[in-house]
Symmetry: C2
Subunit: 383 residues, 2 copies
Amino acid sequence: MTLIATPQQMHFDAPLPLQSGASLRDYALSFETYGALNAQRSNAVLICHALNASHHVAGAYAGQENSQGWWDNMIGPGKPVDTDQFFVIGVNNLGSCFGSTGPMQVNPDAAQGQVYGADFPVVTVEDWVTAQARLLDALGIEKLAAVMGGSLGGMQALSWALQYPERAAHAVVVASAPNLTAENIAFNEVARRAIVTDPDFHGGHFYQHGVIPKRGLRIARMIGHITYLSDDVMNEKFGRQLREAVLGSAAGYRYSTQEVEFQIESYLRHQGDKFAEYFDANTYLLITRALDYFDPARSYGGSLTQALGRATCKFLLVSFTTDWRFSPKRSREIVKALLDNKRDVSYAEIDAPHGHDAFLLDDPRYLSVVSSYFDSISKEVAA
Amino acid sequence: MTLIATPQQMHFDAPLPLQSGASLRDYALSFETYGALNAQRSNAVLICHALNASHHVAGAYAGQENSQGWWDNMIGPGKPVDTDQFFVIGVNNLGSCFGSTGPMQVNPDAAQGQVYGADFPVVTVEDWVTAQARLLDALGIEKLAAVMGGSLGGMQALSWALQYPERAAHAVVVASAPNLTAENIAFNEVARRAIVTDPDFHGGHFYQHGVIPKRGLRIARMIGHITYLSDDVMNEKFGRQLREAVLGSAAGYRYSTQEVEFQIESYLRHQGDKFAEYFDANTYLLITRALDYFDPARSYGGSLTQALGRATCKFLLVSFTTDWRFSPKRSREIVKALLDNKRDVSYAEIDAPHGHDAFLLDDPRYLSVVSSYFDSISKEVAA
């Protein structure tokens, strides 16, 4: 049975003070819910999204084929996060371009009803969690059975455990890290420079010019895609295959610097083109910056152990061996810091070939680890 | 004693047929030599360069401080490749922008004395080696004591052993690979797309427009730099250090998506800016394509063992543990294929932290391996 998803929106009149010192005067959050909240309001699970995803986590929209949510293999009736047991909430983060208040929406402080564009304030993982907590207040949910996310979403789950230790019983942190390495920041920065130096960016106010910095967005997405895949899976999927071998050329090469020669080039160009059609350039800058800034140990002199001392919930961490963007080593740092604090931690390191993307894919061992973990949460909820 | 380097140029009137089927009507090669050719003409060593280097391999130009050649730590009097023993030749490859015939030079087939620009033909590693062999002919050198290169230069050294097995006694292949992986091609392709989609590229004929596609070149170089360094060395050198902590901000962040926040960003932007000032955009496309195309096993159904059967010289291969662009695994593939053919191979895998860049740096173990190897070549030459 396919779950039918229905997007909702909640408007918040109270200003949201941000970590930067700025504040959002008022804002709206797009969200979806799946399953039913029980009478004790104790079976809610919040799903946090990563860079280019949204509140549309599971199910499909009525009458729209191929509109499955981005984690539909994980969440739904009878799935690892079982919507027959849990009330699951997907929420779109502030600054995004999928419905919640962001750069594409009208700036209430602008004179002529202009959109925010580059004037949208910098938002952090902590700001997102604060906004998510207000959504839970509005939904009447005092405490989550679990908060869960992968990659940047995992950072939000971790931040929930630190900002609202009493409001989540479990945090499920998949393919994530306690902060970005210099290399990660470097990849984000190159992607941002590609966008910002695109002449169609116009300092972030391209909307008024009726253009979109598609060149920059394409490059940003191509870089991203390389880092989401492992070298092994790229070799397996594409290797050195040509898109089309040229007859009469000994090697089959067309000998061109600008035309597509290898399959991997064709794949990356296609991904870049698709992305530039739907993703907002200012959102890309904001979300990669939120990634760069997240670093709970920073205010504790770099001690992750001290930083995680505030957390009281139980944890499941999952990492994937070939993920070089958020490597298992980074998850183990979180595990160690939690164990230093004698917290209850489960950790699975999945030997998967798919790199960072593995957290979205159907690895049976991965899905079964999450499934077992949520089974035990389900028993706690029922008890 | 500082070696004084003197650039030279040799013009070739005979057309050079290229692998693509095109040919260069006539061409010039820039080169430098260090040390003296012995009476038997048996002590010549050819050095092949990688992406952004040139014929200026060692020594410095008279009256120009800080003009050391790119491998000056390796080559010179008393250095691992000792110019008191060997006659060392550095040569700039065709298509480059440092003196040899390339896209910035006048196209003899163009009507109005225009430069080649994007009409410069695609050149391959094999084409470069053919041109280098003609230079040796002109210099009266029948057989090299050794041919040596790192990265793309190592591919040329390997190709020498296959194209002219009788013309080199030793091939020294450092931090190289028998071909590029899909991931390597992917990084090259993103860099090329950044250049080609820069509005100032004008289809590769930007010279006539009086502009340079600097935005694209900057992005290309930033991507390159990330792949030359290891994650570890980036963390050690830059980590999450801010360029300048903001007073009054709890985390020290300035909360900006476009300004420099982290040291790694500052470093990459600086590298990109510098590169865009001196490197030619069409050369970047040509040289990355030569990297993509190199694949000696391709004409042997993918069998590197069969492909390397033609080689008869002795080999030294060196790789660096943290080099993820040309990992030790790739060097071991070459070693294995040579051993399958019962060739004489030495191999050193250096446990260095610096990533791909290590081949240019002063690691004492690395320099001593090369030094010992050339000592033994020196004895063969003297015998």
